[in-house]
């Protein structure tokens, strides 16, 4: 069914008002990536329309197009029957489109009132700030939001949840037509959530259209009238919340029933390559113990913020453990820096490849050899031919698509960038390879290639630790799965036999229902 036809169907199906906002066939390209491919989406007045999709599905990009932060390469934005094109966020705001950000955009060293009215401070006598009115108006808005803090409080002294309330208060200064909430409950406590729900209902009653982006099914089913799903930058359908189920939505989101290829996983394991014994970093994670054997892929599954990346950083020498031990090859090691870690044969493919993995302004070859310059230089001088050979080897082995080695890595697609980061580490011939969210924001094709590569590496003897918040990924590649919740290891599962609901229980702090299979903790081959 075409996108347009589907829209028409739902519009006729539900007898509510016509959309106040329509996004039609929006396309947005970045160099090497199509972030949005002819995506359509609409919001009716007084409706909560939930927008769902996995990480990297294009939700944030779509909202940035709507808010004027990105200019689309194709498609139309129609607001209240009028075609609009927003050159910048200010124009979008003027038209009544308000984005409540995930990340905060407040001025910390100003009062709550000043932040609420930033850019539109009430004036008197021409150009003096009318403080009385400023605080009176702010107090009124805060009252509507049932906020407990004063308009005179300094924003830097507020908790994250309260800061978010200030963001919302800001949206209420003008009468907005469309308010976009991007993961609004991520930083709220259970006590604060009902207040947010009240605010949203209040806005609904005033006829404001709400776009609600969230991963949490309970919230979406609680609040929304319709649910739209994006997948890999494409529109994947709209459902009426009343007529659907969580299962149906999940299927649309993932777009596949999980087909796990356990057979291709590595089978032969050697000695312990890595062992953690009661490893802790104060205030970050506590008493983490597990092991990774040669030739084995261990998955580390948990929600963002569970402490997974921090464990990896500690193994890699970037954080100092406050207690516990790290054993490499059976020997206790104290690593003081990433340099030590690399020397010991540890490689870390970081979570954020653009900020931590790559030098975007450098070319492909130079990024590839970055971690192992010693092997391509003699007495400090680079051996250009050797460097080129290294690059060619990994470029061919991993089928990295780039016009030439001179290409700046910033211009490559996410999948090819990630392959360069992996190639960079393979060139150092590590014994332990840690991959943190190895396929985040990468298209489906490259994802499968990277998964196959990870398995192949393990089969050739690498000990591999894969950190991921995507269940299909963890289940698809791991021999064993370590579940983390709130800085602790809550369970350890056999990667071939664990059920999805047990995994979810383990990473959300629920007691895990009995299961007999946990992985072995010693060096006995299990395969």
């Amino acid at each position: 069914m075409s996108t347009a036809a589907m829209n028409r169907n739902t519009a006729h199906g539900a007898s509510s008002s016509s959309p106040v906002l329509s996004l039609i066939d929006i396309t947005k390209k970045f160099p090497g990536v199509v972030a949005l491919n002819k995506v359509s989406f609409d919001v009716r007045a007084g409706e909560v329309h939930a927008l769902l999709g996995e990480n990297g599905a294009g939700k944030s990009t779509l909202m940035k197009v709507l808010a004027g932060k990105h200019q689309p390469n194709g498609g139309k934005i129609i607001l209240a029957g009028e075609e609009k094109s927003f050159e910048n966020p200010k124009q979008a705001k003027k038209s009544g489109i308000v984005l409540i950000h995930q990340e905060q955009s407040l001025v910390p060293e100003m009062s709550v009132a000043e932040n609420i009215f930033l850019g539109s401070l009430p004036l008197k006598w021409g150009n003096r700030v009318d403080w009385k009115r400023l605080h009176a108006d702010s107090t009124e808005i805060l009252k509507r939001l049932k906020c407990t803090f004063s308009s005179r409080d300094m924003v830097s002294n507020l908790s994250i949840a309260k800061k978010q309330m200030v963001e919302i208060a800001r949206a209420l200064v003008f009468t907005p037509r469309i308010v976009v909430f991007d993961e609004p409950t991520a930083s709220l406590t259970d006590h604060e959530k009902p207040v947010l729900y009240d605010i949203i209902r209040n806005l609904q009653e005033q006829g404001v259209g709400i776009v609600y982006i969230s991963h949490r099914m309970d919230e979406i089913f609680h609040l929304s009238q319709r649910i739209s799903v994006l997948r890999d930058g494409e529109y994947n359908g709209t459902l009426n919340t009343a007529d659907t189920s969580e299962d149906e939505v999940t299927k649309l989101m993932i777009g596949r029933t999980l087909e796990l290829d356990h057979a291709s996983k590595p089978k032969e394991f050697g000695e312990n390559m890595l062992e953690l014994r009661g490893l802790s970093v104060d205030g970050v994670f506590e008493d983490v113990s597990f092991n990774v054997r040669k030739g084995e892929i261990v998955g580390m599954y948990g929600l963002v913020g569970a402490g997974r990346s921090e464990v990896a950083e500690t193994i890699f020498g970037l954080r100092k453990p406050s207690s516990g031990e790290i054993l490499l090859n059976g020997q206790v090691e104290r690593l003081h820096s990433s340099h030590d870690a690399v020397a010991e044969g540890i490689a870390l493919v970081p979570e954020d490849r653009k900020d931590q993995g790559l030098i975007l302004g450098m070319n492909c070859r130079d990024n590839m050899t970055l971690a192992g310059l010693e092997s391509v230089s003699r007495r400090g001088f680079m051996k250009t031919a050797a460097e080129k050979r290294v690059y060619d080897k990994y470029q061919q082995a991993m089928k990295i698509k780039t016009p030439s080695w001179r290409q700046k890595v910033g211009n490559l697609s996410g999948g090819n960038q990630q392959k360069i980061v992996i190639g960079k580490w393979l060139h150092t011939h590590p014994k332990l390879l840690i991959l943190d969210e190895p396929t985040r924001g990468i298209d489906v094709g490259s994802k499968a290639e990277i998964h196959a590569l990870i398995k192949e590496l393990a089969r050739s003897g690498y000990a591999v630790l894969v950190i991921s918040s995507e269940m299909p990924e963890v289940l698809g590649v791991s021999n064993r799965i370590i579940a983390m919740y709130d800085g602790r290891v809550t369970a350890e599962f056999d990667g071939d036999a664990v059920s999805e609901d047990k995994l979810v229980q383990a990473i959300t702090g629920q007691p895990v229902t009995a299961q007999s299979n946990t992985g072995s903790t010693s060096g006995h081959p299990a395969g």
């Binding site: 390209k29 970045f30 160099p31 932060k69 990105h70 890699f316 970037l318 820096s337 990433s338 340099h339 870690a341 690399v342 020397a343 870390l348 970081p350 900020d355 931590q356 993995g357 790559l358 030098i359 975007l360 302004g361 450098m362 130079d366 970055l370 971690a371 310059l373 010693e374 230089s377 400090g380 001088f381 680079m382 960079k424 150092t428």
Partner: protein
């Protein structure tokens, strides 16, 4: 057909600053007959060698993502030491002068590395403090070289080539090769381009930063010694504003203040551009104050053009 924008952007082999150098060379050769004479050209090289030598080191520090504002003061101290210590022999005086640069550079680097305080602040403090040291050491006196071998060196030539110009060109070549061909050069780019990624690749970023501060300290001290040989004297105020001229030359040469980009060939172009403009306007008898105004305008114009070309090239890639 050659695309003018690509051409100017330097996506080929010609850097924009060299286009500028060629244009002003042609311009001044028409304005003054004397301009293109061997004598005048080697004169330009000698005049620019002081700023040029410091700029070589500054390029490394800036590609590395840092900056060094103390170079002018280090130059002044080194010049005073090289003249003031001549009672112990020229060799010892020169060695002491150069060592002062190495040590001060090492201190700058160490503080930036270990405390994480911004290099701008650290070297701003060093600039003030080291200038103070000069006054403590010289008691506000100018020193005059008593040894003629010392002051002869500054005006000596090998064949038609002035020694100072030769030293500058040889240093330029060496620094170019080190930046392009060594692991240290590569890592300097990496650390400036993305310190976090460099750290994650196991690169010892602190060590590379410190080496680069030592390098710029050495070149500032070397420039101080050579300037003293040229003048046969050292004054306590020697080297004031030199940090600004140096940074101007490096930035004109295409090195980015944010780090990760830059080249020695570009810096050579930037140094020559300033030298040629000053010399050429001098020959045209433009009053000195107007020369400063014109240089300021040119600096800003070149950077605006550079920025426009870059914005154009990366259009559509916001964030």
């Amino acid at each position: 057909m050659i695309n003018m924008k690509d051409f100017l952007k330097g996506s080929g082999f010609i850097q924009p600053i060299w286009v500028f150098v060629i244009v002003i060379t042609i311009f001044f050769s028409f304005m003054s007959e004397y301009f293109l004479s061997i004598g005048n050209l080697s004169n330009i090289l000698v005049q620019t060698s002081t700023i040029g030598l410091i700029a070589l080191g500054m390029t490394y520090v800036m590609i590395n993502g840092n900056i060094d504002l103390s170079v002018g003061a280090v130059l002044g101290l080194s010049a005073s030491l090289s003249v003031g210590l001549q009672d112990y022999g020229i060799t010892i005086a020169v060695i002491a002068a150069l060592a002062s640069g190495l040590v001060l550079g090492a201190i700058n680097g160490l503080v930036v590395w270990k405390t994480g305080v911004n290099a701008f602040i650290v070297t701003l403090g060093a600039m003030i403090g080291v200038r103070g040291l000069i006054f403590v050491y010289t008691e506000e006196q100018s020193f005059y070289a008593t040894n003629f071998a010392f002051s002869d060196f500054g005006t000596a030539s090998i064949g038609p080539f002035p020694v100072l110009a030769l030293i500058f060109l040889i240093c330029t070549l060496v620094m170019h090769l080190v930046l392009k061909k060594t692991g240290h050069g590569r890592n300097t780019f990496a650390v400036g381009g993305n310190p976090e990624a460099a750290l994650d690749a196991g690169i010892r970023i602190g060590r590379h930063m410190m080496i680069n501060f030592i390098i710029v300290g050495f070149f500032a001290a070397l420039a101080g010694v050579l300037l003293a040989t040229q003048m046969g004297a050292a004054t306590p105020n020697l080297g004031r504003d030199y940090e600004l001229w140096t940074i101007t030359a490096v930035v004109l040469g295409g090195t980015k203040l944010t780090g990760g980009y830059g080249s020695i060939t570009g810096t050579l172009g930037g140094v020559l551009a300033i030298g040629i403009l000053r010399n050429g306007m001098n020959l045209m008898q433009v009053p000195a104050f107007y020369v400063l105004v014109i240089l300021g305008v040119i600096l800003i114009s070149v950077l605006i053009i550079d920025q426009r070309l870059n914005v154009h090239a990366s259009k559509g890639v916001s964030i």
